[in-house]
């Protein structure tokens, strides 16, 4: 009996995962090439199964009230919709590429209005916003993202929402990849060849002597072609997600030499990479989300009503009247909230 349940469970989640993550590109032959378990692990199906059971354990009393089947349905639905990461712990949010993309998208959706308002914020403030969605979001990641936008010595400067978001996207989504890149870059700078590819002596010599002030603009960073070679190598064996190699090459082909942060800036501004990542709309459309705007208008109007009704109530004497009114009001408020739930929201992240 238990075995059967497990089997059902496994196949159930499988389907969801196939639908959401793997997409059509996943060929069945490819699937069959791997043992089942590894395949599931690689596609992060196990992660979600584990998490689902974990969530179930955490709220077992409540969930048992409305049905375990219902719970699993909801769980995997929310995974598909990308809402499963809201207010979750950081370790979960960064566990899978899908989660990361979902988080990026959620961040963009929730705080797009901040950017739209035109406010420029500091790194710390962005960090606070991130923490609203993920209470234990590490400061360090935000700092790294800010470093892409800002100069090293100007970390307290203000950033626009879109600049930060795009930089943050690269930093967050590809954080492991970027770390490897940073290591490669450092190696290149110090003249070592991380991939044991033969480095022309001339260039290595150039790097050894730190560029003087006058030629800093010219000699700063590393040679693009060499760097590109190394990255290609890296992408091949990297087990974490990396940006599409073709696009990376495109970025690198435009310049002769570049610095690490120059590379990151180029990545973050690259429209194709953003598209490939698929969490955010194009830069031009970053402030654009008509469905949500519509919803927001409704909310604003409601809050205005709410406030005025509250003011009326405040004039009423006695706290009891106050409470009773609230009680009556609550049900009528809720349907409007639930009415928005079926809002068709599905998006397909690409890998």
């Amino acid at each position: 009996m238990a075995t059967e349940g497990a089997g059902n469970l496994a196949s159930g989640s499988w389907r969801v995962e196939l639908g959401s993550c793997a997409g059509q590109r996943m060929l069945s032959s490819e699937r069959l090439a791997l043992p089942d378990y590894e395949y599931l692990a690689q596609r992060h199906v196990l992660t979600y199964m584990e998490d689902a059971v974990c969530q179930l354990l955490e709220n077992k009393e409540d969930i048992s009230q409305y049905g375990i089947a219902r719970f699993f349905t909801e769980y995997f639905n929310s995974v598909c919709q990308g809402t499963h990461i809201l207010f979750r712990e950081f370790s979960f949010i960064q566990a899978t590429p899908h989660n990361r993309a979902s988080f990026l998208r959620a961040f963009w959706r929730c705080f797009r209005t901040v950017g739209k308002n035109g406010d420029l914020l500091t790194m710390k403030e962005y960090h606070c916003l991130l923490q609203l969605l993920c209470p234990d979001f590490p400061l360090e990641l935000t700092q790294k993202a800010a470093r892409i936008v800002l100069m090293d010595d100007a970390m307290d400067c203000l950033m626009s929402f879109s600049d930060f978001l795009l930089a943050f996207q690269i930093q967050f989504y590809y954080s492991e990849f970027l770390e490897s890149v940073a290591a490669i870059y450092q190696d290149l700078l110090s003249g070592k060849n991380p991939n044991a590819v033969i480095v022309p002596t001339s260039s290595s010599g150039q790097h050894r002597q730190r560029p003087t002030l006058g030629e800093a603009g010219m000699l700063e960073g590393v040679e693009a072609s060499l760097f590109s070679q190394c990255l290609e190598n890296l992408c091949d064996r990297h087990k974490y997600s990396c940006p599409p190699l073709a696009l990376v090459k495109e970025v690198l082909s435009n310049v002769q030499r570049l610095t690490f942060y120059g590379f990151l800036v180029a990545l973050s501004k690259h429209h194709g990479i953003n598209q490939a990542l698929g969490a955010l709309p194009d830069k031009g459309d970053l402030m654009h989300d008509p469905a949500m705007d519509e919803e927001l208008e409704r909310l604003v109007v409601r809050s205005r009503l709410h406030r005025t009704s509250r003011q009326h109530r405040a004039e009423e004497p006695g706290a009891f009247g106050f409470q009773r009114r609230d009680k009556l009001e609550a049900p009528e408020r809720v349907p409007s909230a639930s009415a928005t739930t079926p809002y068709p929201y599905r998006w397909e992240p690409r890998e």
Partner: protein, 753 residues
């Protein structure tokens, strides 16, 4: 010359309008009348200036208090002349009275022995009588005139001699008058006392209004009892050594700066030092008989030694520079003093003046010429008692204040140390994070603590050292001031457990937190809600508010009208969005003010615009199981609402609904935005990790099992067609020979039987 002098006298009268007027009219204080009197003075220039002067001075003194001698009534309506007669008569009376005879006249130089003489002078109304009575004969000596009197004169006034207004520049040689007891040199220009050493019987010497610069030539006048040296140019009290029986010493209107060389005058009863240049009163011991001391119109700032005057009854300190009671406090120790004046001093302007003086000098009978009534004394003592209480209270207050200050300092120091440590740990943590970004933060936390034991240890010892150095050991402070409850230091939070009186608790509308971690505050918020239901205004200072989400914690309160977050120690205030976030998250409170700024409708709309979507996403897109787990226990009841209205199965059975009613006020879609303190959160993460570990193995097992089954299934699927074929073949082979098969079957059936 003389009219000029009059003018100066009347001028002085104008200066002292009050006194002069009072003097003549005595009891009346009507200014018109005073003016009238004054005019009278002016209009009678022939009137002897001396009398006028006397009148003035006498009136000072009489006003100062000797009502028993001069009865004011007869003089009230009297004309100037009659008043002068009165004066003289009174003087006469005075003479007959006993000890206090001179006292009534203060700095006056008019004296009784010249009664008849004065009367004569008055009647004749001439400035002087020189020609009539006295012949000044130029002596053989070039500089000193020799005085001789006619025999009738001598008989008539055998023991007195008056040389008023004789324009004398030196003392004349007085011959054959050894029996003289009274000598009057008033209003001359004498610069030096000379030629009187032979008058050994002299009792009364009047040198009023001369130009004497030094007291001298008196050493032989052992019987002198009255010495009048008013209005001269004396700078120093000296050469009085032999005048042991001196009764009255008048030195008013001189340039004396210190009281000295008088300690041997044990019979002196009246000392007049008015209108001198004294800056203080001192060196009075030995004046055992002194009953009246006139020190008016000096520049005295403090009085000492008066308690060494056993007989002193009247002390006139009007028009000096006394500003505190402390500077004259020796007066309180004088048992004999009954009459004192302080008018014209700064001290008399103080509101506390009269009752303080009365309270400290119970022996007084008159103060500033006013009789002290019992009622007044009682009032004074009541006021003094109150004052005393107030003082004690204020002292206590200042003690408390000081203690409070020290405590706050102490708390602040502790806080700083703590903050330093926290940031240290934070940086350590960051460092760790960068090493292993994928790690669980709570694990990082644990490892840092274990990795830096020495550091925390040393900091701890530093902290305790600092604490030992402090005299105040209190590490927290709780203060209720009116409607404000102030908490300093995390220890203060425990005070919320105390049993607060209903009244106090009801009164508190403002709660201020200083030097307390916000996370610690969060834990007591439910208590705060219960204990201080009326708290409407929360203040945070040095509370380590760093994140917007921390404000979520405030949503659980009953009501907040005002929020004040001091930028000091609360980095969150530097964010541009914090106000809007507060407004958004706490919109159910309809807050009035944030950091003292009125909240406008536009602010509210802005807040909604900025964060509305967040709330919307949080409420409408969260899967239901997440909603439940986020809302936590307290909110489940409220959440039940949501469930019910959504037409789904109710979550939990609700036994108590008070809370849910209240919570319903909170915008439900915001309830999902809550705050768990870092410690608690870390705990939770730890818990989750445990669960995860379990789930991992569980799922692993399940999946393995499932894949195995799957594999078996697949293998079976592969085998099955072949097996089927084989089975069919076997069966077909079996039934190929129909007869033998039938036989076999029948055999089986029979066997069964």
């Amino acid at each position: 010359m003389i009219p000029g002098k009059y003018r100066s006298v009347s001028g002085r009268a104008t200066n002292n309008v009050n006194c002069g007027l009072h003097l003549v009219i005595q009891t009346s204080s009507l200014p018109e009348k005073n003016k009238v009197e004054f005019k009278l003075h002016k209009e009678t220039p022939s009137f002897p200036g001396r009398l006028l002067q006397h009148d003035l001075e006498r009136n000072y003194s009489s006003r100062q208090g000797d009502g028993r001698v001069i009865s004011p009534s007869p003089r009230n309506k009297s004309s100037c002349i009659s008043s002068t007669t009165n004066v003289t008569e009174l003087c006469g009376l005075e003479m007959k009275t006993t000890t206090s005879s001179f006292s009534a006249f203060g700095d006056s130089s008019i004296q009784t022995p010249s009664k008849s003489r004065i009367r004569q002078g008055c009647h004749s109304a001439g400035p002087n009588v020189s020609g009539e009575h006295i012949n000044l004969v130029s002596s053989s000596m070039p500089s000193f005139p020799i005085l001789q009197r006619s025999s009738e004169e001598k008989i008539l006034y055998s023991d007195r001699l008056t040389l008023e207004r004789q324009k004398l520049t030196v003392c004349p040689i007085i011959d054959g008058e050894e029996h003289l007891r009274l000598l009057n040199f008033q209003h001359n220009f004498i610069t030096r006392i000379q030629n009187i050493s032979n008058l050994q019987k002299l009792i009364f010497l009047d040198l009023y209004d001369n130009q004497i610069e030094e007291i001298s030539g008196l050493c032989t006048l052992r019987s002198l009892r009255v010495l009048l040296l008013g209005k001269n140019r004396i700078k120093k009290i000296s050469n009085l050594e032999n005048l042991k029986s001196l009764d009255v010493l008048d030195l008013h209107g001189n340039q004396i700066t210190t009281i000295e060389n008088v300690n041997h005058l044990c019979d002196l009863r009246v000392l007049n030092l008015a209108r001198n240049l004294l800056s203080h009163v001192d060196n009075l011991n030995g004046l055992d008989s002194l009953t009246e001391l006139n020190l008016r119109h000096n520049q005295i700032t403090f009085v000492r030694d008066v308690d060494n005057l056993p007989s002193l009854q009247r002390l006139f300190l009007s028009f000096n520079n006394i500003s505190t009671f402390e500077s004259v406090c020796c007066l309180a120790d004088s048992t004999s003093l009954s009459d004192i004046t302080f008018d014209g001093n700064p001290i008399a302007q103080e509101s506390w003046y009269r009752h303080t003086v009365l309270q400290n000098m119970m022996q007084l009978r008159q103060l500033d010429m006013k009789r002290i009534t019992e009622e007044e004394r009682r009032m004074a003592s009541v006021i003094a008692k109150k004052e005393e209480e107030k003082k004690r209270e204020s002292h206590k207050q200042s003690l408390l204040k000081e203690k409070k200050r020290l405590t706050i300092n102490n708390v602040a120091r502790k806080w700083d140390l703590q903050q330093q440590r926290v940031t240290n740990i934070a940086t350590n943590q960051d460092g760790k994070d960068s090493d292993s970004p994928s790690q669980d933060p709570c694990q990082v936390d644990g490892s840092t603590i274990s990795a830096f034991p020495e550091e925390t240890g040393s900091l701890d010892s530093g902290l305790s050292n600092a604490l030992q150095g402090l005299s105040v050991t209190d590490t927290y402070l709780v203060e209720v001031d009116g409607d404000t409850l102030s908490l300093y230091g995390s220890g203060a939070l425990e005070s919320l457990d105390r049993n607060w009186s209903v009244q106090t608790a009801g009164m508190v509308t403002t709660v201020s937190f200083t030097f307390i971690e916000f996370d610690e505050i969060v834990q007591v918020l439910p208590k705060l809600k219960i204990k201080f239901p009326n708290s409407l205004h929360l203040k945070f200072k040095e509370t380590n508010l760093v994140m917007l989400q921390q404000f979520n914690a405030l949503a659980q309160l009953r009501r907040i009208d005002q929020l004040t977050v001091d930028p000091q120690g609360n980095p969150v205030v530097s964010f541009t969005l914090w106000k809007y976030y507060v407004l958004f998250r706490l919109s159910h409170f309809s807050m009035q003010k944030i950091n003292g700024t009125e909240v406008t409708q536009n602010d509210m709309i802005m807040a909604e615009r900025l964060f509305g979507i967040l709330a919307h996403v949080a409420s409408s897109e969260l899967p239901q199981y997440r909603l439940i787990s986020i809302l936590g226990d307290a909110r489940k009841k409220q959440f039940r609402y949501l469930l019910e209205s959504k037409g789904k199965k109710p979550g939990i059975v609700n036994e108590e609904n008070n809370d849910s009613k209240r919570l319903a006020g909170e915008n439900t879609n915001r309830a999902t935005l809550n705050y768990t303190t870092r410690d608690f959160y870390n705990e939770k993460l730890e818990e989750i990790k445990e669960k995860k570990k379990f789930c991992k193995t569980y799922i692993e097992d399940l999946v393995k099992e499932a894949t195995e089954i799957n594999m078996k299934n697949e293998a079976l699927q592969k085998l099955w067609p072949q097996m089927f074929i084989e089975l069919v073949r076997d069966a077909v082979i079996e039934i190929r020979n129909k007869n033998s098969y039938m036989k076999l079957c029948l055999q089986k059936i029979t066997d069964q039987k």
